[in-house]
């Protein structure tokens, strides 16, 4: 138990104490750390997909404009 708290300490110590007046809740805090990789990668995939779709749409539009000319 002590060891586990020691390992979490670097995270907990960095909290700006005066402002972080809310108790984040240990379960809520840990869940975010456990989900970090999943939600982070989903976000990256989504962002790249958006960028790709914008790029493809522009490309298609350019192609269309060229044909119309």
């Amino acid at each position: 138990m002590k060891q586990s708290i020691d390992l979490l300490r670097p995270l907990l110590i960095n909290l700006p104490k005066a402002q972080a007046y809310l108790d984040p809740g240990s379960g809520s805090f840990i869940l975010q750390l456990l989900l970090a990789a999943l939600v982070g990668s989903l976000f990256l995939v989504k962002s790249y997909w958006r960028k790709l779709s914008v790029f493809l749409r522009r490309l298609l539009r350019r192609e269309q404009d060229r044909r119309e000319e």
Binding site: L7, L15, Y21, L22, P24, S26, Q32, A36, V39, K46
Partner: protein, 460 residues
């Protein structure tokens, strides 16, 4: 003799050490404490404040030279723009609640772009002002501490995700649970109440069901985790929360009252005459603020709000309030605020020492009260004596525009069809004598093509 203290603290803001709300000679101020100085400076210097104010997402404030409430901790005092009527999450319809949740997440995203984040995400920090949801707590921002999980994640899920999920997937009236659970609905309770199928929605699975399980599991014994939460992960967390909120929907078209005008026994002539009379009375009394009680979808509230009067339209039916709110949004109405309220059990004072959240009546009085097609529901369906009703309306404001619906009216006949008539005093004469105790009756006009009478009264 010691001079009287002109400044009074507001009990709704005692938790956050960053500052404190107080009133001075009736004006609301916010003390910003020394300890919050770097964060406040970053809010202004990073351009975040101006960006949010320009978008209409954050209440604007101005710095003022007013003595702080607690000079020993104070850095400066600001005066936020006044919100005419403070509403609470348990008074919002589904659409309002959803807009408040999305606003909180949008603000979090913009704050992260400026190197800050929300250090709290209380639903009580959102208000409806000039027809739009707005964040009223300028001290909710903090310099983003890279690598940290979101400190207000639990609060967001309890204050927004849990009530909205329950309203969308179980019953819209479960929004009323916020009255009982002032710090948001416990996630284990929400998880138990939600249908099993909600586990197939990734945002609800992660942020509600697994979140509740994680709280249960790690409450006493945190595990060994050698990780931090980088910014991409945090953005992903916000993004999945937003997707979850966006997918929650509720349709208002199935409740009793939202169809009232289509199904009621008003003829077109009666409706038109009633509207003309209400408008005429409003033009005579010229109030600045109006509460429309039993407002339904706001047909008569709009007679007031379209005259530029600040109008709050209360109804107990979620469907009617939802329709009203959608119309407000669609037409960009800035003077009308629809809210959910059961007049027979209005919002009580809540929280620590009953002082954190004001009761409904504490948020009055108002210049004029509209009580149209309402009295029979209170007097007959709820057995309220007419004298009690007169006292109740009298406490709310100076002017009263009230419609008397006699027993011969088909709506009252419907209320009496399955019960004994134990209301011998419910007559026009009985009504006038009960209300005559507290009011001077200025006008009484029979509504054309109906048996109803519209009164204009002034408090004695």
């Amino acid at each position: 003799m010691k001079p009287a203290n002109l400044s009074q603290p507001l009990q709704a803001s005692f938790r956050d050490p960053s500052g404190q709300l107080f009133t001075r000679v009736g004006v609301l101020y916010r003390q910003v404490n020394q300890v919050y100085r770097p964060h406040f400076e970053h809010l202004i210097e990073s351009g975040l404040y101006q960006t949010l104010v320009d978008k209409g997402w954050l209440i604007p404030h101005e710095e003022v030279n007013v003595p702080p409430l607690q000079p020993e901790t104070a850095w400066k005092v600001i005066r936020p723009e006044t919100i005419p009527f403070i509403s609470y999450p348990y008074e919002w319809c589904f659409g309002q609640y959803k807009d408040a949740a999305l606003l909180t997440l949008n603000i979090q995203m913009v704050a992260l772009e400026h190197g800050m984040w929300l250090k709290d995400s209380s639903a009580y920090n959102i208000q409806f002002h000039e027809g739009r949801a707005v964040l009223i707590d300028s001290l909710s921002f903090e310099i983003y501490p890279e690598g940290q999980p979101w400190v207000a994640y639990r609060q967001f899920c309890q204050h927004f995700l849990a009530p909205l999920s329950l309203m969308a997937h179980c019953d819209v009236r479960l929004g009323q649970l916020m009255r009982t659970y002032l710090d948001g609905i416990p996630l284990d309770l929400a998880s138990r109440l939600l249908p099993w199928r909600t586990r197939f929605s990734l945002p609800l699975l992660l942020h509600l069901h697994l979140h509740a399980a994680s709280q249960r599991r790690y409450a006493a014994q945190p595990p060994v985790i050698k990780r931090c939460m980088d910014k991409v992960a945090l953005l992903g967390l916000i993004d999945t929360l937003e997707a979850g909120i966006r997918r929650l929907t509720w349709s208002p078209f199935t409740t009793d009252w939202s169809q009232y005008y289509q199904e009621s026994n008003y003829t077109a002539a009666a409706l038109e005459h009633k509207q003309a009379l209400v408008a005429e009375f409003l033009d005579v009394i010229r109030p600045a603020t109006v509460w429309d009680l039993g407002a339904n979808t706001g047909r008569f509230s709009r007679l007031a709000s379209q005259r530029g009067l600040l109008t709050v339209a209360f109804d107990q039916d979620y469907g009617a309030v939802e329709q009203n709110y959608r119309q407000c949004k669609q037409e960009g109405e800035t003077h009308l605020l629809p809210l959910v309220l059961d007049l027979t059990n209005p919002s009580p004072p809540l929280g620590w020492a009953h002082q954190e959240r004001l009761s409904w009546m504490q948020r009055g009085p108002v210049d004029a009260v509209l009580a149209l097609a309402l009295i029979h529901h209170l007097a007959i369906a709820n057995n309220l004596p007419l004298a009690y009703l007169a006292e109740f309306f009298h406490a709310l404001g100076r002017w009263l525009v009230i419609e008397f619906v006699p027993k011969s009216d088909s709506q009252v006949q419907r209320l009496l069809s399955f019960r004994a008539d134990i209301f011998p005093n419910y007559t026009r004469q009985g009504f006038e004598s009960a209300f005559g105790v507290c009011y001077r009756i200025h006008r009484s006009e029979a509504i054309r093509d109906s048996q109803r009478v519209l009164y204009l009264m002034e408090a004695r």
